[in-house]
């Protein structure tokens, strides 16, 4: 079974992509596109060499462009270092996003800070873009005493309420209904809030996808449902996940406007998401976005993708690297050069180093936290169980890597 139409981004006419006006990433309120493109054609603005066809440049402010670049480079460096820590046994597990930086960063940047995010597996960077410090993120990965999740959630499941970033969903697809529900609640309360709910391609098979899409459409829930089609769900290729020609077109059946965007083109992702967010904000209901991208590494630190996929496929996608492509664009525009790049990269590497050093100073969680937070007050039974547990000698060792 070979992939049908999911393989390479085909150059297609971008239909009325949003044209945001100048402003910073976080405060810009560009005019939304009059009509959302509703087609399976791929929206693409940035060519491989960093050029943009005449009339297609969304005209983002310099500050926004540099913010996008910084975040893309930062998440890439963060991933690289965290995978190293995992191999050294300093954290238990990690899920990198190499190759998906544009889809992740571009879509998150299209939101206003008051908008909410329900992440899937590849949007941890959103928490950091919303202000979760790198040190705090690493606290979570270690599960130490300073971790906001108190060592209770698997690595990468950050949560950051101040940033309107809800915890990553372990059970595939569940977050789709959460996002739709939160968006409904925003509408009921009259809050000017749009919800961005993420999912992978695999999640489009889940029950919650169908029910969530349907509900969102029927009640015009102010949300954007954003699918990172990275072609794989662990070892299941998209061709075995869905027989649809595109995932985007699933929107049609539910009556949701849909758009398919080149997920390695940060300008296109930003513009398309921005337009979808504005649609939702104006009360026009949900949009379904399929970002066509590629998971270049294993599913997680526990995976070995060489066992199930062709290296040539990975190589082909390396050529479409989202960071290189965007750097070429910035360079062409005179916003970037090799001199800046070197100092910039060094700065980011230093930032991550400092964060690791700071996080590793923190003490582990106290044993007493084993029984707190299950209920508001620790129950007598849990108190007893804690005493029993603490009285026993012979604590175990942490055996076994995280199995998929």
């Amino acid at each position: 079974m070979s992939g049908k139409g999911h393989k390479a981004p085909v150059k297609a006419k971008a239909k009325a992509a949003a044209k945001p006006r100048a402003g910073t990433a976080r405060v810009a309120t560009p005019k939304p596109a009059a009509v959302m493109p509703s087609s399976a054609g791929l929206v693409r603005l940035l060519e491989d060499d960093g050029t943009v066809a005449r009339g297609k440049d969304p005209g983002l402010a310099e500050e926004t462009l540099l913010f996008l670049y910084e975040q893309m480079v930062q998440v890439r460096e963060f991933d690289r270092r965290m995978l190293m820590l995992q191999r050294q046994g300093r954290i238990g597990f990690y899920g990198p996003i190499l190759g998906q930086e544009a889809a992740t960063v571009g879509s998150i940047a299209a939101l206003e800070p008051r908008d909410w995010i329900f992440p899937a597996l590849r949007e941890g960077a959103a928490a950091m873009m919303r202000g979760l410090s790198l040190t705090e993120a690493i606290n979570q990965l270690i599960g130490n005493g300073a971790d906001r999740c108190k060592g209770r959630q698997m690595p990468c499941h950050y949560t950051f309420k101040q940033g309107n970033y809800y915890g990553m969903s372990s059970v595939i697809g569940t977050q789709i209904s959460h996002a739709v529900g939160a968006a409904m609640a925003a509408r009921i309360r009259g809050d000017d809030v749009v919800v961005l709910g993420y999912m992978g391609d695999g999640a489009t098979s889940a029950n919650d996808f169908h029910a969530g899409m349907n509900f969102a459409a029927v009640y015009r829930s102010p949300c954007v449902l954003f699918c990172q089609n990275n072609q794989w769900a662990i070892s299941v290729p998209i061709s075995k996940q869905s027989a649809s020609e595109t995932l985007a077109q699933k929107g049609k059946a539910y009556g949701i406007p849909y758009v398919r965007v080149d997920g390695n083109d940060v300008l296109a992702v930003y513009s398309v998401t921005r337009a979808a967010v504005e649609r939702a904000r104006q009360g026009d209901g949900p949009t379904f976005v399929e970002a066509v991208t590629y998971r270049r590494l294993g599913h997680s630190s526990s995976d070995d993708p060489t066992r199930y996929r062709d290296e040539a496929e990975v190589k082909a996608w390396e050529k479409k690297d989202p960071v290189d492509r965007f750097r070429a664009y910035l360079t062409r525009r005179g916003l970037w050069d090799d001199g800046k790049e070197a100092a910039f990269k060094e700065g980011i590497a230093q930032r991550v180093n400092d964060a690791i050093a700071a996080a590793e100073q923190n003490a582990p969680p106290a044993d007493e936290t084993l029984v707190t937070d299950v209920y508001e007050h620790v129950t007598p039974q849990l108190k007893e169980q804690l005493a029993e547990v603490l009285a026993l000698e012979g604590r175990g060792v942490n055996e076994g890597a995280f199995p998929l």
Partner: protein, 349 residues
Amino acid sequence: MPWSKFQQDYAAPTGGRTISYCAAVREAIDQAMGHDPRVFAIGLDADDKFGVFGSMANLSHPERVLGTPIAENAMTGVALGAALSGLRPIHVHLRNDFLLVAMDQIVNYVAKWEDMFDRQVRVPLVIRSIIGRGWGCGAQHSQALHGLFAQVPGLKVVMPSTPYDVKGLFLASVADDSPVLFLEHRWLYKNTGDVPEAIYTLPFGKCQRLHAGEGLTVVAASLAAVHARLACEGNGLDVDLLDPRTIKPLDIDTIVASVRRTGRLLVVDYDFPFGGFAAEVCAQVAERAHGALRQAPVRICFPDRGMPASGILERAYYPTPERLAAAMQNLLDGAPVADDLLVGGGHGR
């Protein structure tokens, strides 16, 4: 029935071929498929290149292994539909936590179909799932939850601890005309033991005695049974260790007979405590032999909270053979009770 001829005595073999728990599962699945063309495997990642952690690697009938999209509930419905129409599906789950997505199909349909519809149609479905944790898996990637499933009328819940048991009980599960939930703890996968090459089945509802003693009855299944055995053997404890192997049906008679001799009961259950398997064993023993108990029965379960992810907290959370040994020793050291108080004499210490 093509499966009936395999019913054998269940005494574990000594000597002979030694293979791993994982290899024994694999052999059972391979032989089941070879023996009966109605047997097929279905599940998310059932056809992955890793062969479901090796348990389905290089099967002789790869054409009868079907990977599915991520939709556990609907796929359970698909498996049930196939079972109703005469096939013998093995629905595979790499992780019990996500099996929960299929609760509606399992609890409302799979378990009750035969009963609700007067057994006009049988449901020869095996749902196999790997349970337990790796390092740092936290609350949604580490659960067992066999107690939850054992509560449901109509389900059989099988949780073997040894390679010999896992093969025989798996083949018995496939041979069974009714639904079976088959739980394999991931930490048992590398354990080895003697396993006959031939096809054989083992009966449900029969305890296996893993260690003989007179001072304390310990009931433990799956990984807990292995840990309890290590505790007994490593410390020379006077413990009668019973592995029920199937928690439903439960061989309560053997357990009660043992408690009548020892006067003490400890149940080790690697699951949540409230209303769980350990509670059930204690309740049934109290109902049948409360007079034989010289001390209150004791349960060792997980604390009544989700699993932590932090390594430090995991070490506090999870029982170990050393911790079990300490608990058993405490019980064995318990205040002696006069023999004449015990039903059937007993062996006071």
